[in-house]
């Protein structure tokens, strides 16, 4: 109910602002909706959205799985931490744009280069979060598992993983929002389709309704995925915690 109210408020402010500054700079909601419908019925909207989502899914999965594994290793093994730390600091401070441009130069304007570049941007934060989570693991529970001779996999699944789950959820959430932003830049610079590409075209033509139509649809999809996928996972990871009053 509150969400609906804030959405209505958003629309109202937009509409009023559009009336004040004029349709060329800020088109009114119906004008944008019209473009949305036109793009949707031609199929272009879904094509571009699909391409972007596929890139997000691939890059996100790649970065999360690789980052979690490396982070876990660095949290557990001191030597790995020592070796990996300088690389991690380098990656953390490398601007996204540099990674994308270099990837396109070295690997060509290819799909693989785009996905790798997006994943590399997300990778270091996933590593840092999971390393933190691994360092915070409760040693006394590890001892319990070893005294009761729990097999490795069972101990990992029931003792370690539940402790890491909140960290994985946090990393997924922050990582997803990072990937949403970077994927558009990567598409703008070197892909012939996707929401980022369309926004680039709209920018060149100064076609504000089209720009807004694509951005807002994209934002809506992000919102839906966040509420339907990420938040329930986060809640599930924390289910056993005694509920606060």
């Amino acid at each position: 109910m509150l969400r609906l109210l804030s959405f209505v408020l958003f629309l109202a402010i937009w509409w009023i602002a559009a009336l004040l500054v004029g349709g060329a700079k800020l088109p009114s909601p119906p004008a944008v909706l019209q473009v949305m419908i036109a793009e949707a019925s031609s199929g272009a909207l879904f094509l571009h959205l699909g391409a972007t989502l596929a890139r997000v899914a691939l890059a996100f999965t790649l970065a999360m799985s690789l980052g979690s594994a490396i982070g876990y290793l660095m949290g557990r093994v001191k030597l790995a931490d020592r070796l990996g730390d300088p690389w991690l600091i380098l990656l953390l401070n490398l601007p996204a744009l540099v990674v994308i441009v270099l990837a396109y130069i070295w690997a060509g304007l290819t799909e693989a280069a785009a996905i790798a570049a997006i994943a590399i941007n997300k990778l270091p934060t996933a590593i840092v979060t999971l390393r933190e989570g691994t360092r915070a693991l409760d040693r006394s529970l590890d001892e319990m598992a070893s005294v009761f001779a729990m097999p490795r996999w069972r101990a990992f699944r029931h003792v370690v993983l539940p402790q890491l789950a909140p960290y994985i959820a946090a990393s997924a959430r922050s990582g997803l929002s990072l990937v949403w932003k970077i994927v558009l830049v990567a598409e703008l610079l070197g892909r012939p389709n996707g929401v980022g590409f369309e926004i680039g075209v709209a920018f060149q033509l100064f076609d504000t309704p089209r720009l807004l139509a694509y951005s807002l649809t994209f934002a809506a999809v992000v919102l839906v995925i966040e509420t339907l996928l990420v938040q329930p996972f986060e809640a599930r990871a924390n289910r056993w915690r005694p509920r606060a009053a």
Binding site: V159, P162, W240
Partner: protein, 242 residues
């Protein structure tokens, strides 16, 4: 089966950089079916000794001979349950082979039936301790290690659990190592009592109890306690004299 403990020393490096000695040379052995009881002042190194004996801490001088295939049931000083698993899952994860009937029986004895599906965060400390006991019993251990298992339970329940431990020990060839501050528990359960000195711990007195556990009545127990009191009294006067 036989457990041989021969620790020649254990020191901890403190965070400040100093070292402090926690265990002096400690040597004893335990047979299958025997209950050894460690009694000593708080902070003397009992839990540290148990961790070494169980192979959780390798940073010590000396040698431990533990039967390699021995199944271990342990009740840690704190319950150490998995907060994200229910009571029943906690037990089953440690003892995957436990039969349903056996588990039901354990939960009945420990009065945990109503709490099977609760999470550890929803239990009182006494309840959590009982779950830890259930877990240790459920694995049908060859070596049972109990670090103050009856603390924070009321007398009646502690008494019943003590009887339960005695029954378990009698029912299978298990060697038991019990840490307790209660002389009563020690005399009722133990076959051999080891009295430890303050840190660094060493064994100041070893006292075997000749009467089998099953035939120890209240009169015998009182007699053992009296002789113990006399001995410690004697030790004290000796020490005062020297």
């Amino acid at each position: 089966m036989r457990l041989e403990v021969d620790i020649t020393g254990k020191t901890f490096r403190s965070a400040a950089g100093g070292t402090h000695e926690v265990l002096a040379p400690v040597k004893f052995a335990l047979q299958s079916g025997e209950v050894g009881v460690l009694i000593g002042p708080s902070g003397c190194g009992k839990s540290t000794m148990l961790r070494i004996i169980l192979g959780l801490d390798h940073d010590f001088a000396g040698h431990i001979a533990r039967p390699p295939e021995a199944r271990i049931g342990m009740v840690f000083q704190e319950p150490r349950l998995l907060p994200w698993r229910s009571v029943e899952q906690n037990v089953r994860l440690a003892a995957p082979d436990v039969a349903d009937a056996k588990l039901a029986e354990l939960f009945r004895i420990l009065e945990l039936e109503a709490h099977r599906d609760h999470y550890p965060g929803e239990l009182s400390l006494g309840l959590a301790r009982r779950v830890a006991l259930a877990r240790a019993f459920a694995v049908e251990p060859d070596i049972l290690v109990l670090d103050e298992p009856l603390a924070s339970l009321d007398d009646a329940l502690a008494g019943r659990l003590r009887d339960e431990i005695a029954t378990l020990v009698a029912s299978r060839p298990v060697m038991t190592l019990l840490v307790t501050h209660s002389l009563d528990d020690a005399v009722r359960l133990g076959d051999r009592l080891f009295f430890l000195s303050p840190r660094p711990a060493r064994i100041v007195a070893e006292m075997p109890i000749g009467i089998p556990r099953a035939t120890r009545g209240e009169a015998e127990i009182a007699a053992i306690k009296a002789s113990l009191a006399q001995r410690t009294q004697g030790d004290r006067t000796e020490r005062d004299a020297s």
